[in-house]
Assembly symmetry: C7
Homo-oligomer: 236 residues x 7
């Protein structure tokens, strides 16, 4: 922490002398402590992959939803405060529904992500409410191609070929930077993702501990079944 | 308390430098001091069980309601600030009523719990009102199966097979982790719950000191009668 | 006062690190300094009894109203800030009137008390207004039986067989715990109440210094006349 | 001032740890510094009496209004901040007018005083505006009898036989406690009041330095003429 | 400054422990530094008189308006913050216009002054806006007689025979107390005012440095012409 | 800075103990650092003159507008925060347009300036927004004559024969006080203004570094062309 | 940092004693850390040029949009907080659309820029929201000519012949001041811009690392293709 930082870091509507918004940066810390969440593109689409190990064996297996569908061809995974995430997912879904209602077509992935990010930005500029402590990975396929967007608490968005949010990010990004290639097959990409996730969480993966979503050209966004996941893990 | 914590822990809309929301954490402390409240699944449904010992012998026996029905097939028990709990229970009931009015069907348990949790999340993000100092156990049976949800002041929710909120949680969870099994009979589950509750409050149980609710496939949520409770205690 | 308490005790919407709401606790202190106010059940109803000694002999005797009727079969006595009490009494009366208007029947005592307590709870959760510095004893008879409720500044409510709020509470409760019995006759209960009140205020009672209200099955809530009170005191 | 008092005494919506509202108490200090204002009952009515000595001989004699009529049979005198008093007097008058308009009858004195006190109480519970720094003596005659009410900045009200607000209160109350009697004639009561007022302000009274209002059964509230006052003073 | 004063003197809605409103007192300081402004009654009316010496010889002579007409028979002069004064003058004029519109008659001087003072009082009780840093002298003639009112930032008002606001007040009041007489002729009163003003500002008067307004029974409020002023000064 | 000043200088709605409004005074500092802006009357009209030297040679010459027309016969120049100035200019223009729309005539210069100053005053009395950090010189010709007004951040306004705002004020006013004369010809006044401006900014003037506006009886407000300015400078 | 600066630098609506608005200055720091963004005019139009090097090789090449079209003949590039920029770009586009709708013509570049700057200014004067941490370069061609505007967080705007915002500004401006000439050909201007950009970011340029937009008389605003950019870079 730099000297004097505490004088500027509690107000949402306050810049520090060097032009930083500390509350936004602190919200990012909530993301850095979050679930490891991976996104990566393959030849025909985009994969999302989330660590969903249970915090206690008394938790209902299968009850934890970590990957959400936003629209027919758009899926989303999050990292950070779970209740904040639910609010943003709802916002995204309503956004997609409104577009469908008004224009009778699916919303483009980028437009949807921008709308959600504008919603987030508001919470970094106006007092009365803190920023959202959550980052999103959004995977979508539309007329403009295949997309994997990462958003952060500031409302910024970046399109990635492969990325990761949450506590495992440093490990996963390191592996992706060395091993990710454009145009991989679904299986190759999924294996790379599972390898990175397993390394990051330093644990053995199983259908119970990882959730996978995929969207592909011409196919709607869907979650993989346990048997599909087990098969993929078997191949790693 | 970590150094400097006090600089960030009084504002609802303020993240600490490591991305925590202290007011939400402090609201959880109100829950940790609350009544020991247990939920556990059995073969055909879900049991809720609450410590309702009287604070004084002048209190009207039978007057204390600790288990609430939200909808025909959904019941709820709480731990934490009692007046806050009443507000959330009302919110949940209105939610269920609105759904019935609009769609002419019972609301799904998970949807109801999410709606209540969205309501809670609001109080963690906007200034003007503190978070709710209360956690809920919600038991429900619907077309999707049997459900036992635990919610906390942040607006997070987790589905459990068996869980406990309030001051007795550490003791109860320890017992459940060792002894709970899926698919127990109603009697086996109730006995396990009573054993755990008795151990946690370190007191002899009686129909006057414990309240039990149950929801079962095809049967509406109901509170057990004193004689039913006495019979169950007798079997422990 | 615990160390650091002052850092958390001025904001209404602020939890302390151990999950307490100090402003609510301080509002309770206003009640602890209030008029000694007693409620106790007897065989067929509920008695309310209030210390109404005059602060100066220039005060108009008989002008001080300490017991209020809320509805035909519901009465109320208060302890704490007198202007706050008046506001809550008005709220309760309007509540009862609205119910009568909408449903053409008397409101149930418990529903009325819950509504007033929800009103109180609001002032413990939202900024802009302090909690009410007043507790209420509500006595009512309805289809569900005879009721004696005590509410506090947090919005919590408890049903008692016999209770006391205000400065004399420790003394009175001590006597009640030893001597109160269920199913006492009106005279026995009234004598017990007068004895406890006299002991608590350490003064000789007279029709001028105590106000008594009673509600009984089949009879509306009413205040006793001076001669009735004098007669009862004579019997103690 | 008790230790730590300053930590709690600037917020309107803040209780001190012992349940006090300091801003209300400080507003009472403004009253204690105010004009000496007396009220006392006599056989058939109520007298109000106010010190209206001029602060400078350049002030227009006769211009200072210290006694106000609220309704036909209700008069009022105040002590404390004069601009605050004017606002409350207006509020009281509008209250009486509204009642007349809605019910075609004069408002009862007690109802009027309660309404004004509810208005005052609001300013002790909600932020955004300070309490009124003014106390009122209200004298009225109605179907329920003759009334002399004293209100304070908290919104509390007490019915007196004889009372005093403002800087002279200790001296006047001392005299009243020794010499006031129920059922005095108008002249006896007026003489007692003038004697007390003269003693309190330690000055010779004249028609120019004292204002007197009176309300009597069957006669509307009115201010005494200078010659009436002079005659009364002559008799003291 | 009394010890601890700074703890209470920045909030508008905050009483000090001795019942003072420091922000109102500080606003009065702005008046005490203001232009010397005089009002005095004569046999048939009221005179207002203001020091209007230019702050620089580059200021446009004749451009400075220090005396305002509010209604046909009501004039006003101010001392304190000039922009605040303009706002209050506008408020007063609109008030007079509204009255004329509604009742088709001129507003009484006292009613107008009370309305403006109620407007001022608001700014001493509610947060969000500071009190007006300005005092007004209002001169009027109506069916009730001739009036000279002085108002201050608290919203208090006093009727004077002769008075002064602004920096010269101590000197002027001293002269008035010794030399002012009721029923003086216009010339005598004007000469007394000019003498007092000249003494207070310790400067030679001229038509360029003093502005004079007058309202007289049966004659509308008007400003004296330069030649009239010169003639009057010549007689002093 | 006087001792204790910092205790009062951050709140807009806060008077200091000696009745000053520090935030308004600080806003004046922004003006004192502003562009040197001159206004002076001549026989038939008013001249405005502004230093418009470029901050960098990459700035588009001719792009910087420093003199604005508000209405056909009213022009304006400003000094202080440029974005604040733009907002006030817009406000002034809308004001003039509204007047034209409602009354089908040009607004009088003084009325326009008062309206803008009332707008400014608001920002010195209410919280939520800081005062405008800008002063205006307004030049106008109307039925009442020729006008040159100076306004400041408090909302005060003064009519000048010749004046200056911004960093060069002390130097310019010194020259004007010695050399300005009423009824100068346009050329004489313009030369005096240019001399003063050149001295104040201590730089050689050119058509590129000074902007000049003029309004004359019977001629609309207009900016001088570069050749006119060059010619005038040649004559100095 | 000057002594005492911290006392004034956290409030948006607070001037410092020397008339500065620190929060606006701090917002400018966010711009100074931003992407190097260049604008320069050539004979027939204006070029915008932005550094768009990827922060990671996993970022989708071609996904980062750094230059935006606002209207047919107006383009824009930004530096500073990216989410803030998106909000302002949207505001600008809506502004242009509204103009087209109302007047059936393209908005003039300067009017558009002023509107956006008025929007920005608001956030420097009112509390509740921080200033925008972003600067814009706006390039446009309209009936009034070719324009290159730079705006900053205060809402100020300056027309430049060539300019730069973001971290590379000092280096780029130094080169432009020495080498920029009016009336350069498109190729000469583009080469100068690329040279300056390359020097500022101290990196080799490629079509992947620089984005270029251009608007020319008679030709709509457009982004150069990768091959056009590659060709231009080849010529440097």
């Amino acid at each position: 922490m730099q000297p004097g930082q505490m004088a500027y870091d509690r107000g949402i509507t306050v810049f520090s002398p060097d032009g930083r918004l500390f509350q936004v940066e602190y919200a990012r810390e909530a993301v850095k402590k979050g679930t490891t969440t991976i996104g990566l593109k393959f030849k025909n689409g985009v994969i999302l992959m989330v660590d969903k190990r249970l915090s206690s064996k008394l938790v209902e297996p299968g009850s934890i939803e970590k990957i959400y569908d936003i629209d027919d061809y758009i899926g989303c995974a999050t990292s950070g405060l779970v209740a904040d995430a639910r609010v943003l997912i709802d916002e995204a879904r309503k956004n997609a529904q409104r577009h469908k209602l008004h224009y009778d077509e699916n919303i483009a992935t980028e437009m949807l992500v921008k709308n959600v990010c504008d919603y987030k930005q508001n919470y970094t500029q106006y007092g009365g409410g803190r920023p959202f402590g959550v980052a999103l990975l959004v995977a979508g396929v539309d007329d403009l191609g295949m997309h994997l967007f990462e958003t952060d608490p500031s409302g910024a968005l970046v399109a990635y070929r492969a990325t990761c949010i949450g506590s495992g990010r440093p490990v996963v990004m390191d592996i992706f930077e060395r091993e990710f290639e454009d145009g991989m097959s679904f299986e190759a990409a999924a294996k790379l993702g599972l390898k990175a996730l397993g390394t990051a969480i330093d644990d053995t993966l199983s259908a119970a501990s990882v959730e996978i979503g995929v969207v592909e050209k011409g196919k709607k966004f869907r979650r993989l079944s346990d048997s599909e996941i087990t098969k993929l893990i078997g191949k790693v």
